[in-house]
């Protein structure tokens, strides 16, 4: 089963556990500045929103890369950057409409979410299930369930 990250911003408290888990897994240190997932705070609205790559099938970054450094891992569905091939030209960062692939000045390469090879650390670290790793074909299932629960058929059930 192919799985995807599913993000429910309403559950996010802005704690950054996801950013620390991501940076530790990928960089070996706790460093939100090097996290591939970012939590944004909209203070005046009282909202927190985690955001990361959605792993597009026809990925802008992949098509834009002049050296074919970005390829899909068909096991996980993640678009992965081959660090050996990447030349750090940053064209992918311009092509991506969502801003989720970024240059890393330390390595001179681009970095993006690779779903940790199929076991994403951010989802495991999230204390509120704002980030979950679920069946790709059913990322809307919990929203559907919530709305389904509001369907007014209580009288039928009682009858």
């Amino acid at each position: 089963m192919l799985r995807s990250l599913s993000i429910d911003p309403d559950k996010c408290t802005g704690c950054l556990q996801c950013e620390m888990a991501c940076s530790l897994e990928n960089e070996g240190i706790f460093n939100p500045a090097r996290s591939r997932i970012k939590v944004f705070t909209f203070h005046e609205e009282g909202r927190f929103v985690p955001y990361t790559c959605t792993q597009c099938d026809e990925a802008w970054c992949m098509h834009a890369c002049p050296v074919d450094a970005i390829k899909m891992n068909f096991q996980t569905g993640a678009l992965e950057v081959n660090e050996k091939t990447c030349v750090g030209c940053k064209v992918c960062t311009i092509a991506c409409p969502f801003g989720t692939i970024n240059y890393n000045r330390v390595s001179g390469k681009v970095i993006k979410c690779d779903l940790c090879g199929g076991d994403p650390e951010c989802a495991k670290a999230c204390p509120t299930q704002a980030i979950t790793y679920v069946d790709s074909d059913a990322t809307g299932l919990e929203k559907m369930r919530a709305w389904a629960g509001k369907t007014d058929n209580a009288q039928h059930a009682a009858g």
Partner: protein
């Protein structure tokens, strides 16, 4: 190792900035944050110095777990001599500033001297520079935060700043970071402003490296996150209601100080409670609380993000308060609500917003207003002093007016900025000041909760609940239930809480974890992160060492055992509320035993044995 092992030293007098290695011998004894910074303060300053003079130093310090994934590991403290108490000040704050400082590669910043002109410090990793605060000095914290973000151009910059209250000399001014988190107590913001330092901005991209055993660390962090999630207080009560979960609980047991501690129950308590913050209001159908919010790395998320009723009188024509910001926590809601007799949730939330915007400690502010209200109702302070405002208990208008006056330092706001002790002295009624060592009480009446009486009397920073929160045991039964009405056993309880809390603070963790965790849950996290063997026993020993070091500083600053006392009101005027009727605080039954357990003399002085045992400096 978790420590960055680097100290940033900023001499404000001559504008020089330097980097030096962290003293790791001291770190082994004092851990970090509160303990380690106090060790530096003791080594580098004269405890007898003028708190607001250039000889006092101000240290912003992180702990070894600050900036790591350990739950709640985002905290920093500000350590300096307090202008409110004359004792050591150590004010702890969450938010994101502390973790950002650590991620920039610094364990602490030591500020010394006084800048000839207003400045702010900008830190980007290993680069730090002082910049002119022209155009920022004279602004509120929120305005300064916005101005600095405009200058750095980086939305991820974290800012800690002082407001206009600090600039005008309010003695309980706080340092506000991330717009609504406060290093709140004892006037650390006043010290910062006295150094002509408006703000510290930091951006860190280096992160926290060199965890001793990352795999073991993440395993134990994950285990301990589960402990927090499964605990009724940290997993349910605090996320849902915040610390405000306590308002109705403490009121019901007859220990909610009311009207400047004249009473121990407040009839309007529910109206300003955590439960009330969830009730939809008539005007727009929204509750006061928008969402809960976490500080860096925290899996409890007790923070409150709130709005004020758009139709409320306090915010008309004031757009800066017409959106979400940091909402009420229990101590603030108590001080500005119950202690002033104000049951208007929106007025109290407004006063809280002003405390955040202009950097006041809401506990000291509210308690000082309460003292002013008692002075007013006794006819000592009149409308001639205030310029027309009637300061009656229960007046929401008076509360919101006072907040703005202290915030900007205008008119009678100057008097209110003195704090309860100096205000009551100025008006000839020192007995009406509800303070210990010059610092105002928080929200637990020691007539109803005896252990808190000893907590307040012996706290190294004046009246404070966070030095030994025996409410956990006496009211909530954590880790085990003790009777709040009895004094027996409380000396030992207070000492145990004081020592453990000093260790918790010094690691960089939040004391709220202790509703679920003991040092048994924390030591494995510190041990996996830091070099050396960190056991519960070692943490307790370090905690006791830190407590004694703070005490030693205070004694050298001129305090004595006589300062370990409570206002007469709490010792002689009995509670009239049914659950605690007839009770006073029997401090005299606890204090001698406490001194004995500490190994101090009968008049509360450190002994040579204690000094040697903990290898305390000179």
């Amino acid at each position: 190792m978790a420590w960055a092992k680097k100290v940033l030293r900023v001499n404000l007098t001559d504008g020089t900035i330097s980097s030096e290695p962290l003293n790791m011998e001291w770190a082994a004894d004092y851990i970090g944050q509160r303990g380690l910074a106090t060790r530096y303060l003791v080594a580098e300053t004269d405890p007898g110095c003028d708190a607001l003079g250039p000889d006092n130093k101000m240290i912003m310090a992180t702990g070894p777990l600050t900036g790591t994934a350990a739950s709640t590991g985002g905290r920093y403290s500000v350590i300096t001599k307090s202008p409110l108490t004359g004792a050591v000040a150590c004010s702890n704050s969450g938010g994101f500033f502390g973790a950002e400082l650590k991620a920039a590669g610094w364990d602490m910043i030591i500020f010394e001297g006084r800048s000839p002109n207003p400045v702010w410090l900008n830190i980007e990793d290993d680069r730090a520079e002082l910049r002119s605060a022209d155009g920022i000095w004279g602004k509120s914290v929120w305005e300064a935060d916005a101005a600095i973000h405009k200058i750095t151009g980086d939305p991820q910059t974290r800012v800690a700043a002082v407001g206009r209250s600090a600039e005008s000399g309010c003695l309980y001014a706080a340092i506000i970071n991330d717009l609504h988190r406060a290093a709140g107590r004892s006037g650390v913001g006043t010290v910062m402003a006295s150094k002509n330092l408006k703000a510290v901005a930091v951006r860190g991209s280096l992160g926290v490296a060199n965890i001793k055993d990352p795999k073991r660390f993440m395993e134990t962090v994950a285990e301990q996150k589960v402990v927090l999630a499964e605990n009724a207080v940290t997993g349910q009560g605090l996320p849902a209601l915040g610390t405000q979960v306590l308002m109705n609980v403490i009121n019901e047991i007859g220990a909610l100080p009311t009207n400047n501690m004249q009473k121990t129950q407040f009839e309007g308590a529910h109206s300003i409670s955590g439960e009330a913050m969830l009730e939809p209001r008539k005007s727009d159908g929204k509750p006061n609380l928008t969402t809960n919010a976490a500080c860096f790395g925290c899996t409890i998320a007790c923070g409150r993000i709130s709005t004020i009723d758009p139709t409320h009188f306090s915010i008309q024509d004031k757009p800066q308060y017409q959106h979400n910001s940091g909402g009420l926590e229990y101590e603030a809601a108590w001080a500005m609500g119950a202690d002033t007799g104000v049951d208007d949730l929106d007025a109290v939330t407004f006063a809280n917003f002003v405390c955040n915007e202009d950097g006041m400690d809401p506990i000291s502010f509210g308690a000082t207003v309460a003292a002013a209200m008692e002075l007013f109702e006794k006819g000592v302070i009149t409308t001639e002093h205030t310029g027309g405002m009637a300061l009656n208990f229960g007046s929401a208008e008076a509360l919101t007016w006072c907040a703005e006056k202290v915030g900007t330092g205008d008119g009678f706001g100057k008097d209110l900025g003195l704090g309860s002790k100096k205000l009551c002295e100025k008006y000839g009624h020192p007995e009406l000041s509800m303070t210990v060592k010059g610092q105002e009480f928080p929200a637990y009446d020691p007539r109803g909760i005896q252990g808190m009486g000893l907590t307040y009397a012996t706290s190294n920073r004046g009246a404070c609940h966070l030095r030994s929160y025996t409410v956990a045991s006496e009211v909530l039964g954590i880790p085990e239930k003790t009777d709040p009405a009895v004094t027996e056993g409380k000396a030992g309880l207070v000492k145990a809480f004081q020592d453990a809390t000093a260790a918790v603070d010094s690691m960089g963790l939040c004391v709220f974890t202790t509703f679920a965790w003991t040092l048994d849950n924390m030591a494995p996290q510190l041990d996996a992160a830091c070099e050396g063997d960190w056991t519960v026993d070692r943490l307790l020993e370090a905690g006791e060492r830190i407590w004694n070091l703070e005490r030693d500083y205070n004694m050298k600053a001129g305090l004595t055992g006589a300062d370990d006392n409570l206002p007469e009101r709490l010792l002689k005027e009995a509670s009239k509320a049914a659950p605690t009727e007839g009770q006073v605080c029997n401090l005299h039954e606890m204090l001698p035993e406490y001194y004995q357990l500490r190994g101090w003399t009968t008049d509360g002085q450190l002994t040579d044995e204690v000094r040697q045992k903990f290898s305390l400096p000179g």
